[in-house]
Protein backbone atom coordinates (compact mmCIF):
# COMPACT_ATOMS: atom_id res chain seq x y z
CA UNK A 1 0.00 0.00 0.00
CA UNK A 2 1.46 3.39 -0.96
CA UNK A 3 1.85 5.96 1.81
CA UNK A 4 0.09 8.64 -0.19
CA UNK A 5 -2.12 8.10 -3.16
CA UNK A 6 -3.96 10.66 -5.27
CA UNK A 7 -6.54 9.38 -7.72
CA UNK A 8 -7.92 11.38 -10.62
CA UNK A 9 -7.79 14.70 -8.81
CA UNK A 10 -9.31 17.60 -10.73
CA UNK A 11 -9.92 21.10 -9.46
CA UNK A 12 -11.71 24.12 -10.82
CA UNK A 13 -11.45 27.71 -9.60
CA UNK A 14 -14.77 28.99 -10.85
CA UNK A 15 -14.63 28.17 -14.56
CA UNK A 16 -10.88 27.80 -14.65
CA UNK A 17 -9.52 24.29 -14.60
CA UNK A 18 -6.42 24.51 -12.44
CA UNK A 19 -5.61 20.81 -12.10
CA UNK A 20 -6.75 18.03 -14.36
CA UNK A 21 -6.70 14.29 -13.62
CA UNK A 22 -3.70 14.35 -11.33
CA UNK A 23 -2.51 10.95 -10.13
CA UNK A 24 0.22 10.20 -7.66
CA UNK A 25 1.51 7.34 -5.61
CA UNK A 26 4.32 7.81 -3.12
CA UNK A 27 5.91 5.02 -1.15
CA UNK A 28 7.44 5.30 2.28
CA UNK A 29 10.93 6.80 2.09
CA UNK A 30 10.61 7.96 -1.50
CA UNK A 31 11.69 11.41 -2.69
CA UNK A 32 9.45 12.67 -5.41
CA UNK A 33 9.64 15.86 -7.42
CA UNK A 34 7.04 18.05 -9.09
CA UNK A 35 8.33 20.46 -11.71
CA UNK A 36 6.70 22.75 -14.21
CA UNK A 37 6.63 26.33 -15.42
CA UNK A 38 5.20 29.16 -13.35
CA UNK A 39 1.45 29.00 -12.97
CA UNK A 40 1.30 25.32 -13.92
CA UNK A 41 -0.68 24.51 -10.78
CA UNK A 42 2.06 22.97 -8.65
CA UNK A 43 1.20 24.85 -5.48
CA UNK A 44 -2.48 24.15 -6.12
CA UNK A 45 -1.69 20.43 -6.10
CA UNK A 46 -0.04 20.92 -2.70
CA UNK A 47 -2.99 22.93 -1.42
CA UNK A 48 -5.42 20.28 -2.59
CA UNK A 49 -3.61 17.41 -0.93
CA UNK A 50 -2.99 19.29 2.32
CA UNK A 51 -6.66 20.23 2.63
CA UNK A 52 -6.56 23.97 1.97
CA UNK A 53 -8.84 23.43 -1.02
CA UNK A 54 -11.21 20.56 -1.46
CA UNK A 55 -10.72 18.90 -4.86
CA UNK A 56 -13.67 19.24 -7.23
CA UNK A 57 -13.18 15.60 -8.24
CA UNK A 58 -10.96 12.75 -7.17
CA UNK A 59 -9.62 11.25 -4.00
CA UNK A 60 -6.65 11.64 -1.73
CA UNK A 61 -5.68 8.60 0.32
CA UNK A 62 -3.10 8.95 3.08
CA UNK A 63 -2.00 5.93 5.13
CA UNK A 64 -4.95 3.99 3.81
CA UNK A 65 -7.47 6.64 4.88
CA UNK A 66 -9.50 8.76 2.53
CA UNK A 67 -8.60 12.32 3.56
CA UNK A 68 -10.44 14.15 0.78
CA UNK A 69 -12.33 17.04 2.38
CA UNK A 70 -10.68 16.71 5.75
CA UNK A 71 -9.55 19.92 7.41
CA UNK A 72 -5.90 20.96 7.03
CA UNK A 73 -5.20 20.65 10.74
CA UNK A 74 -6.52 17.09 10.80
CA UNK A 75 -4.40 16.11 7.82
CA UNK A 76 -1.32 17.75 9.31
CA UNK A 77 -1.83 15.96 12.61
CA UNK A 78 -2.06 12.63 10.75
CA UNK A 79 1.56 13.11 9.73
CA UNK A 80 1.84 15.50 6.82
CA UNK A 81 4.38 18.29 7.27
CA UNK A 82 4.70 21.23 4.95
CA UNK A 83 6.86 24.23 4.11
CA UNK A 84 5.91 27.15 1.90
CA UNK A 85 7.18 28.84 -1.21
CA UNK A 86 7.36 32.22 0.47
CA UNK A 87 8.25 31.54 4.04
CA UNK A 88 5.19 31.65 6.22
CA UNK A 89 6.79 32.21 9.57
CA UNK A 90 5.24 34.00 12.51
CA UNK A 91 7.57 36.96 12.41
CA UNK A 92 7.52 38.03 16.02
CA UNK A 93 7.67 34.62 17.63
CA UNK A 94 10.90 32.98 18.64
CA UNK A 95 12.49 30.08 16.80
CA UNK A 96 11.71 27.72 19.65
CA UNK A 97 8.08 28.84 19.79
CA UNK A 98 7.66 28.07 16.10
CA UNK A 99 8.67 24.50 16.58
CA UNK A 100 6.73 24.07 19.81
CA UNK A 101 3.62 25.43 18.12
CA UNK A 102 3.73 22.62 15.60
CA UNK A 103 3.55 20.16 18.53
CA UNK A 104 0.01 21.39 19.22
CA UNK A 105 -1.69 18.22 18.03
CA UNK A 106 0.54 16.14 20.31
CA UNK A 107 -0.39 18.09 23.43
CA UNK A 108 -3.54 16.62 24.90
CA UNK A 109 -3.98 18.58 28.10
CA UNK A 110 -7.22 20.54 28.42
CA UNK A 111 -8.09 23.99 29.72
CA UNK A 112 -8.53 22.75 33.26
CA UNK A 113 -5.19 21.01 33.08
CA UNK A 114 -3.62 24.26 31.93
CA UNK A 115 -5.03 26.39 34.74
CA UNK A 116 -4.17 23.90 37.45
CA UNK A 117 -0.81 23.19 35.86
CA UNK A 118 -1.25 19.44 36.21
CA UNK A 119 1.57 16.92 36.02
CA UNK A 120 0.28 15.81 32.64
CA UNK A 121 0.58 19.35 31.28
CA UNK A 122 4.09 19.74 32.64
CA UNK A 123 5.16 16.40 31.26
CA UNK A 124 3.71 17.13 27.82
CA UNK A 125 5.16 20.63 27.67
CA UNK A 126 8.57 19.34 28.73
CA UNK A 127 8.37 16.67 26.05
CA UNK A 128 7.41 19.26 23.41
CA UNK A 129 10.30 21.44 24.47
CA UNK A 130 12.70 18.53 24.18
CA UNK A 131 11.48 17.46 20.74
CA UNK A 132 11.67 21.08 19.58
CA UNK A 133 15.20 21.54 20.86
CA UNK A 134 16.36 18.29 19.27
CA UNK A 135 14.97 19.42 15.94
CA UNK A 136 16.64 22.81 16.21
CA UNK A 137 19.87 21.04 17.01
CA UNK A 138 19.52 18.74 14.01
CA UNK A 139 18.91 21.67 11.68
CA UNK A 140 21.72 23.74 13.13
CA UNK A 141 19.61 26.55 14.55
CA UNK A 142 19.80 25.58 18.22
CA UNK A 143 21.93 28.58 19.15
CA UNK A 144 19.25 31.00 17.95
CA UNK A 145 16.37 29.26 19.75
CA UNK A 146 15.32 32.42 21.55
CA UNK A 147 15.76 34.83 18.65
CA UNK A 148 12.76 36.24 16.84
CA UNK A 149 12.65 34.79 13.33
CA UNK A 150 12.61 38.28 11.76
CA UNK A 151 16.15 38.78 13.00
CA UNK A 152 17.56 35.72 11.24
CA UNK A 153 19.18 35.51 7.81
CA UNK A 154 17.09 33.95 5.09
CA UNK A 155 18.80 30.57 4.96
CA UNK A 156 18.28 30.12 8.67
CA UNK A 157 14.61 31.03 8.38
CA UNK A 158 14.28 28.22 5.85
CA UNK A 159 15.79 25.83 8.36
CA UNK A 160 13.38 27.00 11.05
CA UNK A 161 10.50 26.36 8.69
CA UNK A 162 11.83 22.88 8.07
CA UNK A 163 12.16 22.22 11.80
CA UNK A 164 8.59 23.39 12.29
CA UNK A 165 7.31 21.07 9.56
CA UNK A 166 9.16 18.17 11.17
CA UNK A 167 7.65 18.85 14.58
CA UNK A 168 4.28 17.43 13.56
CA UNK A 169 6.11 14.07 13.27
CA UNK A 170 5.36 13.72 9.59
CA UNK A 171 5.54 10.54 7.55
CA UNK A 172 5.64 12.68 4.47
CA UNK A 173 7.07 16.13 4.01
CA UNK A 174 5.81 18.58 1.38
CA UNK A 175 8.42 21.13 0.39
CA UNK A 176 7.22 23.99 -1.79
CA UNK A 177 10.31 25.38 -3.54
CA UNK A 178 12.70 24.88 -0.66
CA UNK A 179 15.50 26.77 -2.43
CA UNK A 180 13.49 29.78 -3.60
CA UNK A 181 15.59 32.90 -3.21
CA UNK A 182 18.74 31.05 -2.18
CA UNK A 183 22.26 31.63 -3.40
CA UNK A 184 24.25 28.64 -4.73
CA UNK A 185 25.99 28.14 -1.41
CA UNK A 186 22.73 28.05 0.55
CA UNK A 187 21.31 25.73 -2.10
CA UNK A 188 23.98 23.13 -1.50
CA UNK A 189 23.37 23.42 2.25
CA UNK A 190 19.63 22.93 1.75
CA UNK A 191 20.28 19.82 -0.29
CA UNK A 192 22.30 18.41 2.60
CA UNK A 193 19.57 19.34 5.06
CA UNK A 194 16.94 17.52 2.99
CA UNK A 195 19.12 14.44 2.67
CA UNK A 196 19.81 14.50 6.37
CA UNK A 197 16.18 14.73 7.50
CA UNK A 198 15.22 12.14 4.92
CA UNK A 199 17.64 9.69 6.43
CA UNK A 200 17.07 10.59 10.04
CA UNK A 201 13.28 10.22 9.98
CA UNK A 202 12.86 7.78 7.11
CA UNK A 203 10.53 10.27 5.47
CA UNK A 204 8.80 10.37 2.16
CA UNK A 205 9.35 13.77 0.55
CA UNK A 206 7.29 15.46 -2.15
CA UNK A 207 8.90 18.61 -3.42
CA UNK A 208 8.22 21.39 -5.88
CA UNK A 209 11.31 22.93 -7.42
CA UNK A 210 12.40 25.18 -10.19
CA UNK A 211 16.06 24.40 -10.15
CA UNK A 212 16.62 21.37 -12.27
CA UNK A 213 19.97 20.49 -10.80
CA UNK A 214 18.41 20.23 -7.38
CA UNK A 215 15.48 18.04 -8.47
CA UNK A 216 17.59 15.79 -10.66
CA UNK A 217 20.03 15.08 -7.88
CA UNK A 218 17.53 14.47 -5.11
CA UNK A 219 14.49 12.82 -6.60
CA UNK A 220 13.92 9.25 -7.61
CA UNK A 221 10.92 10.08 -9.71
CA UNK A 222 9.68 13.35 -11.17
CA UNK A 223 6.39 14.57 -12.56
CA UNK A 224 6.12 17.53 -14.92
CA UNK A 225 3.01 19.63 -14.65
CA UNK A 226 1.96 22.01 -17.43
CA UNK A 227 -1.35 23.89 -17.36
CA UNK A 228 -2.60 21.62 -14.60
CA UNK A 229 -1.84 18.41 -16.43
CA UNK A 230 0.97 15.93 -15.94
CA UNK A 231 2.72 15.74 -19.30
CA UNK A 232 5.58 13.52 -18.27
CA UNK A 233 6.54 11.25 -15.42
CA UNK A 234 9.67 9.23 -14.86
CA UNK A 235 13.20 9.07 -13.55
CA UNK A 236 15.39 12.20 -13.72
CA UNK A 237 17.07 10.91 -16.88
CA UNK A 238 13.80 10.19 -18.60
CA UNK A 239 12.43 13.61 -17.70
CA UNK A 240 15.57 15.37 -18.80
CA UNK A 241 15.42 13.82 -22.24
CA UNK A 242 11.68 14.07 -22.70
CA UNK A 243 10.97 16.37 -25.68
CA UNK A 244 7.64 17.48 -24.20
CA UNK A 245 9.37 18.65 -21.04
CA UNK A 246 12.02 20.50 -22.99
CA UNK A 247 9.35 22.16 -25.05
CA UNK A 248 7.32 23.11 -21.98
CA UNK A 249 10.26 25.05 -20.68
CA UNK A 250 10.10 27.04 -23.91
CA UNK A 251 13.41 26.05 -25.25
CA UNK A 252 15.07 26.68 -21.94
CA UNK A 253 17.86 24.24 -21.81
CA UNK A 254 17.30 21.67 -19.11
CA UNK A 255 20.53 22.03 -17.23
CA UNK A 256 22.06 19.20 -15.35
Amino acid sequence: MPLLEVKHMTHYFGGLRAVHDFNLSIEKGEIRGLIGPNGAGKSTVFNLITGIYRPTEGQVIFKGQNITGKRPHQIAAMGLGRTFQNLRLWRHMTVLEHVKMARYSKLTYGLVGAFFDTRKRRREEAEAEKVARDLLDLLGVYNVAHELVTNLPYGMQRRVEMARALAVEPDILFLDEPTAGMNPEELVEMMDVIRQVHQEFDLAIFLIEHRMKFVMELCQRIQTLVFGEVIAEGTPEEIQNNPKVIEAYLGEEVET
Binding site: L89, W90, H92, K100, M101, L111, A114, V168
Partner: protein
Protein backbone atom coordinates in the same frame (compact mmCIF):
# COMPACT_ATOMS: atom_id res chain seq x y z
CA UNK B 1 -6.12 70.04 44.74
CA UNK B 2 -4.83 68.81 48.07
CA UNK B 3 -2.77 65.67 48.33
CA UNK B 4 -5.71 63.87 49.92
CA UNK B 5 -8.00 64.85 47.10
CA UNK B 6 -5.39 63.84 44.58
CA UNK B 7 -4.98 60.35 46.00
CA UNK B 8 -8.72 59.99 46.40
CA UNK B 9 -9.00 60.59 42.68
CA UNK B 10 -6.23 58.09 41.99
CA UNK B 11 -8.25 55.46 43.81
CA UNK B 12 -11.37 56.31 41.82
CA UNK B 13 -9.42 56.30 38.58
CA UNK B 14 -8.07 52.84 39.34
CA UNK B 15 -11.60 51.52 39.73
CA UNK B 16 -12.80 52.98 36.42
CA UNK B 17 -9.58 51.92 34.78
CA UNK B 18 -10.26 48.33 35.83
CA UNK B 19 -13.56 48.28 33.96
CA UNK B 20 -12.09 49.86 30.86
CA UNK B 21 -9.02 47.65 30.88
CA UNK B 22 -10.97 44.39 31.22
CA UNK B 23 -13.28 45.31 28.36
CA UNK B 24 -10.50 46.78 26.21
CA UNK B 25 -8.63 43.46 26.44
CA UNK B 26 -11.52 41.75 24.68
CA UNK B 27 -11.44 44.24 21.80
CA UNK B 28 -7.72 44.09 21.48
CA UNK B 29 -7.34 40.32 21.61
CA UNK B 30 -9.98 39.69 18.99
CA UNK B 31 -8.43 42.34 16.76
CA UNK B 32 -4.98 40.94 17.38
CA UNK B 33 -5.93 37.43 16.36
CA UNK B 34 -8.60 37.89 13.70
CA UNK B 35 -7.92 41.47 12.58
CA UNK B 36 -11.49 42.54 13.18
CA UNK B 37 -13.07 44.87 15.68
CA UNK B 38 -15.88 43.14 17.47
CA UNK B 39 -18.24 46.09 17.75
CA UNK B 40 -20.72 43.93 19.64
CA UNK B 41 -18.27 43.68 22.54
CA UNK B 42 -19.83 46.50 24.57
CA UNK B 43 -23.16 44.76 24.32
CA UNK B 44 -21.60 41.45 25.30
CA UNK B 45 -20.55 43.32 28.45
CA UNK B 46 -24.18 44.40 28.91
CA UNK B 47 -25.48 40.86 28.38
CA UNK B 48 -22.84 39.77 30.90
CA UNK B 49 -24.35 42.13 33.45
CA UNK B 50 -27.78 40.57 32.93
CA UNK B 51 -26.32 37.09 33.16
CA UNK B 52 -24.58 38.24 36.34
CA UNK B 53 -27.90 39.50 37.68
CA UNK B 54 -29.59 36.12 37.25
CA UNK B 55 -26.61 34.14 38.46
CA UNK B 56 -26.32 36.37 41.53
CA UNK B 57 -30.03 36.16 42.28
CA UNK B 58 -30.00 32.38 41.92
CA UNK B 59 -26.85 31.85 43.96
CA UNK B 60 -28.08 34.15 46.72
CA UNK B 61 -31.33 32.18 46.88
CA UNK B 62 -29.38 28.93 47.02
CA UNK B 63 -26.47 29.76 49.26
CA UNK B 64 -27.11 32.93 51.28
CA UNK B 65 -27.34 32.49 55.03
CA UNK B 66 -30.88 32.17 56.33
CA UNK B 67 -32.53 31.43 52.99
CA UNK B 68 -30.31 28.99 51.13
CA UNK B 69 -30.19 25.22 51.16
CA UNK B 70 -26.49 25.23 51.88
CA UNK B 71 -25.04 28.31 53.50
CA UNK B 72 -21.88 29.67 51.96
CA UNK B 73 -19.99 32.75 53.14
CA UNK B 74 -20.74 35.78 50.98
CA UNK B 75 -17.19 36.00 49.57
CA UNK B 76 -17.57 32.44 48.28
CA UNK B 77 -20.86 33.38 46.65
CA UNK B 78 -19.16 36.36 45.03
CA UNK B 79 -16.37 34.20 43.62
CA UNK B 80 -18.93 31.72 42.29
CA UNK B 81 -20.99 34.50 40.73
CA UNK B 82 -17.95 35.94 38.96
CA UNK B 83 -16.80 32.55 37.69
CA UNK B 84 -20.26 31.42 36.56
CA UNK B 85 -20.90 34.75 34.83
CA UNK B 86 -17.55 34.57 33.04
CA UNK B 87 -18.29 31.02 31.96
CA UNK B 88 -21.76 31.81 30.63
CA UNK B 89 -20.75 35.08 28.98
CA UNK B 90 -17.95 33.27 27.13
CA UNK B 91 -20.66 31.32 25.31
CA UNK B 92 -22.28 34.58 24.22
CA UNK B 93 -18.95 35.55 22.66
CA UNK B 94 -18.52 32.17 20.99
CA UNK B 95 -22.03 32.36 19.57
CA UNK B 96 -21.30 35.82 18.15
CA UNK B 97 -18.16 34.47 16.50
CA UNK B 98 -19.83 31.36 15.14
CA UNK B 99 -23.00 32.99 13.84
CA UNK B 100 -21.84 36.51 13.06
CA UNK B 101 -18.20 36.50 12.10
CA UNK B 102 -17.11 33.05 10.95
CA UNK B 103 -19.24 33.09 7.78
CA UNK B 104 -17.65 36.45 6.94
CA UNK B 105 -14.04 35.45 7.42
CA UNK B 106 -13.24 35.97 3.76
CA UNK B 107 -15.64 38.88 3.27
CA UNK B 108 -14.49 42.51 3.24
CA UNK B 109 -13.64 43.90 6.67
CA UNK B 110 -16.50 46.40 6.52
CA UNK B 111 -19.05 43.56 6.45
CA UNK B 112 -17.74 42.21 9.72
CA UNK B 113 -17.81 45.67 11.30
CA UNK B 114 -21.42 46.21 10.25
CA UNK B 115 -22.35 42.74 11.50
CA UNK B 116 -20.87 43.61 14.87
CA UNK B 117 -22.93 46.76 15.13
CA UNK B 118 -26.07 44.85 14.15
CA UNK B 119 -25.45 42.10 16.67
CA UNK B 120 -25.08 44.83 19.28
CA UNK B 121 -28.46 46.28 18.37
CA UNK B 122 -29.99 42.81 18.41
CA UNK B 123 -28.66 42.25 21.94
CA UNK B 124 -29.93 45.61 23.17
CA UNK B 125 -33.38 45.19 21.70
CA UNK B 126 -33.80 41.56 22.77
CA UNK B 127 -32.90 42.42 26.34
CA UNK B 128 -35.35 45.31 26.09
CA UNK B 129 -38.04 42.97 24.73
CA UNK B 130 -37.42 40.35 27.39
CA UNK B 131 -37.13 42.52 30.48
CA UNK B 132 -38.76 45.79 29.50
CA UNK B 133 -37.40 49.28 29.83
CA UNK B 134 -37.53 49.21 33.60
CA UNK B 135 -34.08 49.27 35.08
CA UNK B 136 -33.14 46.32 37.21
CA UNK B 137 -31.28 46.51 40.48
CA UNK B 138 -28.27 44.28 40.81
CA UNK B 139 -28.46 42.34 44.11
CA UNK B 140 -26.01 43.13 46.85
CA UNK B 141 -23.45 40.36 46.88
CA UNK B 142 -21.44 41.46 49.86
CA UNK B 143 -23.97 42.91 52.33
CA UNK B 144 -22.33 44.98 55.02
CA UNK B 145 -19.31 45.75 52.89
CA UNK B 146 -20.33 49.35 52.38
CA UNK B 147 -21.20 49.91 56.02
CA UNK B 148 -18.08 48.22 57.39
CA UNK B 149 -15.26 50.49 58.46
CA UNK B 150 -13.31 51.32 55.32
CA UNK B 151 -9.55 51.30 55.18
CA UNK B 152 -8.04 54.77 55.01
CA UNK B 153 -4.55 55.77 54.14
CA UNK B 154 -3.46 59.21 55.25
CA UNK B 155 -7.00 60.53 55.05
CA UNK B 156 -7.70 58.87 51.69
CA UNK B 157 -10.65 56.51 51.90
CA UNK B 158 -9.95 53.35 49.99
CA UNK B 159 -13.18 51.41 50.09
CA UNK B 160 -13.17 47.62 50.33
CA UNK B 161 -15.20 47.55 47.19
CA UNK B 162 -12.56 49.40 45.19
CA UNK B 163 -9.81 47.18 46.52
CA UNK B 164 -11.88 44.17 45.50
CA UNK B 165 -12.62 45.49 42.01
CA UNK B 166 -9.07 46.53 41.21
CA UNK B 167 -7.70 43.34 42.79
CA UNK B 168 -9.95 41.00 40.81
CA UNK B 169 -9.23 42.91 37.60
CA UNK B 170 -5.47 42.68 38.12
CA UNK B 171 -5.63 38.96 38.90
CA UNK B 172 -7.62 38.33 35.73
CA UNK B 173 -5.19 40.34 33.61
CA UNK B 174 -2.22 38.44 35.01
CA UNK B 175 -4.03 35.15 34.31
CA UNK B 176 -4.64 36.24 30.73
CA UNK B 177 -1.02 37.23 30.29
CA UNK B 178 0.02 33.85 31.63
CA UNK B 179 -2.44 32.04 29.39
CA UNK B 180 -1.30 33.76 26.22
CA UNK B 181 2.39 33.28 26.92
CA UNK B 182 2.38 29.78 28.41
CA UNK B 183 -0.29 27.58 26.91
CA UNK B 184 -0.57 25.99 23.50
CA UNK B 185 -3.75 27.97 22.80
CA UNK B 186 -2.14 31.26 23.69
CA UNK B 187 0.75 30.46 21.42
CA UNK B 188 -1.67 29.51 18.65
CA UNK B 189 -3.45 32.85 19.05
CA UNK B 190 -0.21 34.74 18.56
CA UNK B 191 0.74 32.55 15.61
CA UNK B 192 -2.65 33.08 13.98
CA UNK B 193 -2.19 36.81 14.29
CA UNK B 194 0.95 36.68 12.16
CA UNK B 195 0.08 34.16 9.53
CA UNK B 196 -3.36 32.72 9.43
CA UNK B 197 -2.71 30.30 6.59
CA UNK B 198 0.27 28.49 8.06
CA UNK B 199 -1.43 27.72 11.36
CA UNK B 200 -3.76 24.84 10.40
CA UNK B 201 -1.00 23.22 8.35
CA UNK B 202 0.91 22.75 11.59
CA UNK B 203 -1.99 20.78 13.03
CA UNK B 204 -3.70 23.64 14.87
CA UNK B 205 -7.51 23.89 14.55
CA UNK B 206 -8.13 27.44 13.40
CA UNK B 207 -11.81 27.70 14.21
CA UNK B 208 -11.36 26.41 17.72
CA UNK B 209 -8.69 29.03 18.41
CA UNK B 210 -10.91 31.78 16.98
CA UNK B 211 -13.78 30.66 19.21
CA UNK B 212 -11.49 30.53 22.21
CA UNK B 213 -10.28 34.07 21.57
CA UNK B 214 -13.86 35.30 21.63
CA UNK B 215 -14.60 33.19 24.69
CA UNK B 216 -11.70 34.69 26.65
CA UNK B 217 -12.52 38.27 25.66
CA UNK B 218 -16.17 37.79 26.56
CA UNK B 219 -15.36 36.09 29.85
CA UNK B 220 -13.33 39.17 30.83
CA UNK B 221 -16.26 41.38 29.80
CA UNK B 222 -18.51 39.18 31.98
CA UNK B 223 -16.20 39.65 34.95
CA UNK B 224 -16.10 43.40 34.28
CA UNK B 225 -19.91 43.38 34.17
CA UNK B 226 -20.23 41.82 37.63
CA UNK B 227 -17.65 44.19 39.11
CA UNK B 228 -19.27 47.17 37.43
CA UNK B 229 -22.72 46.13 38.67
CA UNK B 230 -21.40 45.90 42.21
CA UNK B 231 -20.25 49.51 41.98
CA UNK B 232 -23.20 50.82 39.94
CA UNK B 233 -26.00 48.34 40.62
CA UNK B 234 -28.47 49.50 37.98
CA UNK B 235 -28.87 47.50 34.80
CA UNK B 236 -30.33 48.76 31.58
CA UNK B 237 -30.09 47.49 28.00
CA UNK B 238 -27.98 50.43 26.85
CA UNK B 239 -25.42 50.33 29.63
CA UNK B 240 -22.86 48.69 27.32
CA UNK B 241 -22.75 51.42 24.75
CA UNK B 242 -20.81 54.21 26.46
CA UNK B 243 -18.57 51.91 28.47
CA UNK B 244 -17.99 49.74 25.41
CA UNK B 245 -16.99 52.65 23.17
CA UNK B 246 -14.70 54.04 25.82
CA UNK B 247 -13.03 50.66 26.22
CA UNK B 248 -12.68 50.51 22.45
CA UNK B 249 -10.87 53.86 22.59
CA UNK B 250 -8.62 52.36 25.26
CA UNK B 251 -7.87 49.39 23.01
CA UNK B 252 -6.80 51.75 20.20
CA UNK B 253 -4.87 53.94 22.60
CA UNK B 254 -3.01 50.91 23.93
CA UNK B 255 -2.17 49.72 20.44
CA UNK B 256 -4.30 47.16 18.65
CA UNK B 257 -3.40 43.63 19.63
CA UNK B 258 -1.26 44.56 22.59
CA UNK B 259 -2.37 42.94 25.84
CA UNK B 260 -0.10 45.12 27.94
CA UNK B 261 -1.24 48.18 25.97
CA UNK B 262 -4.95 47.51 26.43
CA UNK B 263 -4.53 47.00 30.17
CA UNK B 264 -2.42 50.12 30.67
CA UNK B 265 -4.53 52.27 28.36
CA UNK B 266 -7.66 51.20 30.23
CA UNK B 267 -6.18 52.58 33.43
CA UNK B 268 -4.81 55.66 31.65
CA UNK B 269 -8.28 56.38 30.33
CA UNK B 270 -9.67 56.09 33.85
CA UNK B 271 -7.08 58.60 35.07
CA UNK B 272 -7.64 61.07 32.25
CA UNK B 273 -11.41 61.00 32.78
CA UNK B 274 -11.31 61.39 36.53
CA UNK B 275 -8.71 64.13 36.50
CA UNK B 276 -10.39 65.98 33.66
CA UNK B 277 -13.48 66.08 35.85
CA UNK B 278 -11.60 67.47 38.84
CA UNK B 279 -9.87 70.26 36.94
CA UNK B 280 -12.72 71.25 34.63
CA UNK B 281 -16.48 71.31 35.20
CA UNK B 282 -17.70 67.73 35.14
CA UNK B 283 -19.94 68.33 32.14
CA UNK B 284 -16.76 68.90 30.14
CA UNK B 285 -15.26 65.64 31.33
CA UNK B 286 -15.59 63.59 28.17
CA UNK B 287 -14.86 66.54 25.91
CA UNK B 288 -11.55 67.19 27.63
CA UNK B 289 -10.66 63.53 28.17
CA UNK B 290 -11.19 62.52 24.57
CA UNK B 291 -9.49 65.62 23.21
CA UNK B 292 -6.42 64.60 25.16
CA UNK B 293 -6.61 61.12 23.68
CA UNK B 294 -7.04 62.55 20.22
CA UNK B 295 -3.85 64.53 20.70
CA UNK B 296 -2.00 61.43 21.92
CA UNK B 297 -3.15 59.54 18.84
CA UNK B 298 -2.01 62.34 16.54
CA UNK B 299 1.51 61.78 17.80
CA UNK B 300 1.26 58.02 18.25
CA UNK B 301 -1.30 56.90 15.67
CA UNK B 302 -0.66 53.23 16.39
CA UNK B 303 -1.22 53.66 20.11
CA UNK B 304 1.12 53.31 23.04
CA UNK B 305 2.35 49.81 22.27
CA UNK B 306 1.21 49.61 18.69
CA UNK B 307 3.43 49.45 15.67
CA UNK B 308 2.69 50.04 12.07
CA UNK B 309 1.65 46.86 10.23
CA UNK B 310 1.99 44.71 13.32
CA UNK B 311 -1.35 45.12 15.01
CA UNK B 312 -1.00 41.55 16.10
CA UNK B 313 -1.54 39.80 19.39
CA UNK B 314 1.54 40.02 21.53
CA UNK B 315 2.47 40.34 25.14
Amino acid sequence: MSATEFFQNVVNALQWGSFYALIALGYSMVYGVLLLFNFAHGDIFMVGAYIGFFVATAFLALFASGVGIITLPSWAILVLVILATMFLTSFVGMAVERIGYRPLRHAPRASAAITGLMIGIIFETSILAMFGAQRMKFPELLPGLASASQPTFGGVIISWQKILIVGVALVLMLLLQWFVSNTKWGMAMRAMAFDFAAVPLMGVPLNRIAALTFALGSALAGAAAVLYSMAYPVLDPYMGITVGWKAFVAAILGGRGSIKGAALAGFLLGFIEIFAATVFPSTYRDLIAYSIILIILVFRPHGMFGEEHTARLRL
